[in-house]
């Protein structure tokens, strides 16, 4: 278990500030979109809140799932690294806990997680991880001044055009995910597991 700087890789709960959809009131479309979004969405306050707008949730989930889980391209652990760096930079404690766990499961180590919690901008145990973290910070903090010089370090560590697009997607979609988690509710205490 890692706890540093206000972040944790423990499993957290999330509480909605809105009224989540009650399953008894859900339409057939809402149930269908919940089931295609996430395995546990029928009991998740986050998905039940977003299910108030089922078609918006459907396309968001399609984008999210393709970006984070599609085979090929950037290794999934590196997509999770990008997601975790952005979540720390944006201060999203809940998203950080989820994606720190995913990174640990996929990479089978947690050294990088400690570094990201301490200082995401300088984190990384290899040149490739450091390039990923720096790019994730640049996209998050100064999208208006991104330029070719921000791409060059990714090419220098051997990333293909397709891998760079995968990383860009993973980093950008956490600009979306963090804002929902941080503005529609808040993390609640760690669950004892």
């Amino acid at each position: 278990m890692i706890r540093r700087n206000g972040f944790t890789d423990e499993t957290l709960e999330w509480r909605s500030w809105l009224e989540p959809l009650a399953l008894d009131d859900a339409s057939a479309l809402q149930l269908e979109v919940l089931d295609e979004s996430h395995a546990q969405s029928r009991t998740s306050p986050y998905y039940l809140t977003l299910a108030h707008q089922p078609l918006m949730l459907r396309h968001r989930s399609a984008a999210y799932n393709a970006i984070m889980y599609a085979p090929g391209g950037l290794p999934r652990a590196e997509r999770e690294l990008g997601a975790m760096v952005v979540s720390v930079a944006n201060g999203c404690v809940y998203c950080t806990s989820v994606h720190a766990q995913r990174f640990e499961q996929l990479a089978r180590r947690s050294d990088t997680v400690e570094q990201v919690f301490d200082d995401p901008a300088s984190a990384g145990t290899t040149d490739r991880e450091r390039a990923i973290a720096r790019f994730a910070i640049a996209v998050t903090e100064r999208p208006d001044t991104l330029r070719a010089d921000d791409i060059a370090p990714l090419r220098a560590v051997g990333m293909s055009e397709e891998e760079i697009i995968d990383l860009l997607h993973a980093v950008a979609i956490f600009g979306w995910a963090n804002r929902l988690m941080q503005n529609l509710g808040e993390p609640a205490g760690a669950t004892t597991s």
């Binding site: 970006i67 599609a70 330029r147």
Partner: protein, 162 residues
């Protein structure tokens, strides 16, 4: 006769200047599902009917958010959509000011989110399903403008611009 339009109807391609036939346009199709779901999100977020949240007001919020984020090509896109919208001259919602404040705060610093901001939207007359739609739109724009910025940088890096 209008000049041939080199772009297809994908908003991100247009905003990033990627025409069919460009190498980066083709590379983006490596993740065709992402391209499709991103465009479908844009369309649903603007056009799905929502009680208390008109398409014209959503376009006003989107143009404002993109201008604040200095996403110039996307701001132009939303301004042009608003200018072409049949309801462009109808009075905006009395809640528009609160929506713009929420959009600006969420865009510039996601840490600013708190329960008081949600309560302000409720007091302005928005019900929870409309707040979900508004938050989804604003959060999506943060994603969309970053994808555009990243693709523009990749395009510059192919042509040797620093």
């Amino acid at each position: 006769m209008p000049a041939a339009d080199p772009f297809d109807n994908d908003v991100i391609d247009r905003a990033a200047g990627l025409a069919p036939g460009d190498a980066l346009h083709a590379a983006r199709r490596f993740r065709a599902k992402v391209v499709e779901a991103t465009q479908a999100s844009h369309d649903a977020l603007l056009e799905q009917p929502v009680d208390g949240l008109s398409t014209a007001d959503r376009l006003r919020v989107a143009a404002h958010v993109c201008a604040i984020a200095r996403a110039a090509t996307l701001a132009k896109h939303y301004e042009a959509r608003l200018a072409a919208h049949p309801d462009r001259d109808a009075a905006p919602s009395p809640a528009l000011a609160a929506m713009l404040v929420f959009g600006a705060a969420l865009t510039t610093d996601p840490r600013q989110g708190d329960r008081a901001a949600i309560d302000a939207l409720r007091r302005a007359g928005l019900r929870d399903p409309a707040i979900v739609a508004l938050a989804q739109l604003i959060a999506f724009l943060s994603y969309q403008l970053r994808v555009v910025a990243g693709l523009q940088a990749m395009r510059a890096s192919r042509t040797g611009t620093p």
